[in-house]
Amino acid sequence: MNRSLLWVIAGVLLVGMPFVYGAPYPMHIIITILIWSFAYTSWSMMGRVGLVSLGHGGFMGVGAYATALLWNNLGLSPWLGIPVGLVCAALLALVVAWPCFRFRITGHYFALVTLALSGIVLQVITATRDLTGGSLGYTPNRVPGGSSFWAFQFTEKHTWYMIALIVWAAGLAIWYAVERSMLRYALEAISEDEDAAAAAGVNVTLEKLKITVLSAMMTAMAGALYCQYQMFVSPDTVSGISVSLQMVFAVVVGGLYVALGPTVGAVITILLGEGLRIGFGTSAVGWDNLIYGLLLVVFIIFLPKGILGSIMGAFRRAPAKAAA
């Protein structure tokens, strides 16, 4: 089986899909899945090497709000505002992560510190109501006509589909680049034994900061993209603890150690959310979180590699057995 041929075929199918079938509602679902897949992929780059962050909602919020605030208040195009948002997320990541890594706050304690981070970002957005609209949410000012390249606003679903597809594919490309890099070796080593990694010459703090900043910036990108697509953000949808936990859940369910695991996780979480919304309407508000929680426990115990990870593991074993 030729892997690169498979990728080309998948790419052609994905790019061509909206021209064959492009009804607005399925397109909306697919765009949402792609954006969240990218966010989950960003989280998994840290999660897979034992850096379990419960604060990624914070980075997402920074990316979304920075971009929208700069546009509304200063008229700064998202083409510039998004990079500024990414830099803000990177700085926030450094401020939170450097002391953690320097003083060896790892494992559960690191997760707790990051949990506080997502809470703090949520509180800051809510408290600065005059600027951010508080818990009512925030809307980027629309350009007349609805679509503008400069304003990064598009009414056409097809355009958004292509943007989301490119960003999602870029996320996968980054995942693979890290997978093949020495950085990944170092992070795997660090996750097992920090002292032994240091004895191999690894600057433990620096290498952990590299992946944290990369992951935070990608997550902020996802937040900015989500805001520009929805043209509305509220603190609850892009920051806060529930978003952060949703990332953990989706990645664990989809598969933490495989490139497409987070994407599978996004398909499941978003279809679950939509299914509940359509099937039960407002009476099911909050059910998705309940189901996430239950499934998370079940998956961690019975299927720790996630759905895709377990399927791929089974496929890899099968030919090996046949050969033996």
């Binding site: 020495m182 070796y185 002292d195 990694a197 240091a198 004895a199 010459g201 690894v202």
Partner: protein, 255 residues
């Protein structure tokens, strides 16, 4: 090559290492012995940066390294092994050594190339006699194999000075001799200076040029193996408690 002056480490009110000074010359193998709790490992951990000294200085090739971060010391040319092997089980054997070859020579901070790291990793694995096959996992290795992997990781960082921490614990006699030969070859073929901490006296005495004896955190003797084993203080604190060791050293001294 290495000059240690007045090295001191305290843990609360307990002085683990008290005012220890010694020198290691280029190309030498120095043995470091002493009963349990005599401060050998503490000295090692200060030399490799895992612990910061409370006093004294450690000059390596004329530069002060005492209190530096472990990775910085490794990058300045000091390699170390751990008493209990600490392999990275999520990586293959080759990947373990490539990691050390890359980061141990300045990789990740703008230095060094991956291709060069892979070359030094393969050389290190061939030197210790482990497979260079990219997919061989660590899980198949026994005690002797894990010790070899520790050594390969340390050699791959291209050290000038190797700190070998009790490399022979848990090996049978044939494996011990092999490992002792390995240290000799590392010195002869790679020109690496070695400090060797070891419990198993007989083998150590056959390989080292000089030996230093510690007791309760203080240096009580230093010199040629044949001299040190005749030192009454050494016999009292270390050898006197272990008849096998006395016998082994006496044999070594005759040889």
């Amino acid at each position: 090559m290495l000059e240690v002056r007045g090295l001191t480490k305290r843990f609360g009110g307990f002085t683990a290492v008290n005012n220890v000074s010694f020198k290691v010359d280029e190309g030498e193998i120095l043995g470091l012995i002493g009963p349990n709790g005599s401060g050998k490992s503490t000295i090692f951990n200060m030399l490799s940066g895992t612990l910061a000294p409370n006093g004294g200085s450690i000059l390596f090739q004329g530069r002060e390294i005492g209190g530096s971060a472990p990775h910085a010391i490794i990058n300045s040319g000091v390699g170390r092994t751990f008493q209990i092997p600490r392999p990275f089980r999520r990586l293959s054997i080759l990947e373990n050594v490539v990691l050390a070859g890359f980061y141990g020579q300045g990789g990740g901070q703008g230095g060094h190339s991956r291709a060069a790291a892979e070359t030094s990793a393969r050389e290190a694995l061939e030197m210790v006699g482990l497979p260079t096959n990219p997919s061989t996992r660590v899980d198949g290795l026994g005690a002797a194999g894990l010790k070899k992997l520790e050594l390969a990781k340390a050699i791959a960082t291209k050290p000038r000075l190797l700190l070998a921490d009790e490399s022979l614990g848990g090996l049978d006699e044939g494996e011990m001799d092999q490992a002792a030969d390995m240290l000799r070859r590392i010195r002869a073929e790679l020109g690496i200076t070695i400090i060797w901490v070891e419990h198993i006296m007989g083998v150590l005495m056959r390989v080292v040029d000089r030996v230093m004896v510690l007791d309760h955190g203080e240096k009580i003797a230093e010199g040629l193996p044949t001299e040190v084993v005749r030192d009454p203080r050494v016999i009292e604190v270390y050898l006197g408690t272990d008849a096998d060791a006395v016998h082994a050293v006496a044999e070594a001294a005759r040889a």
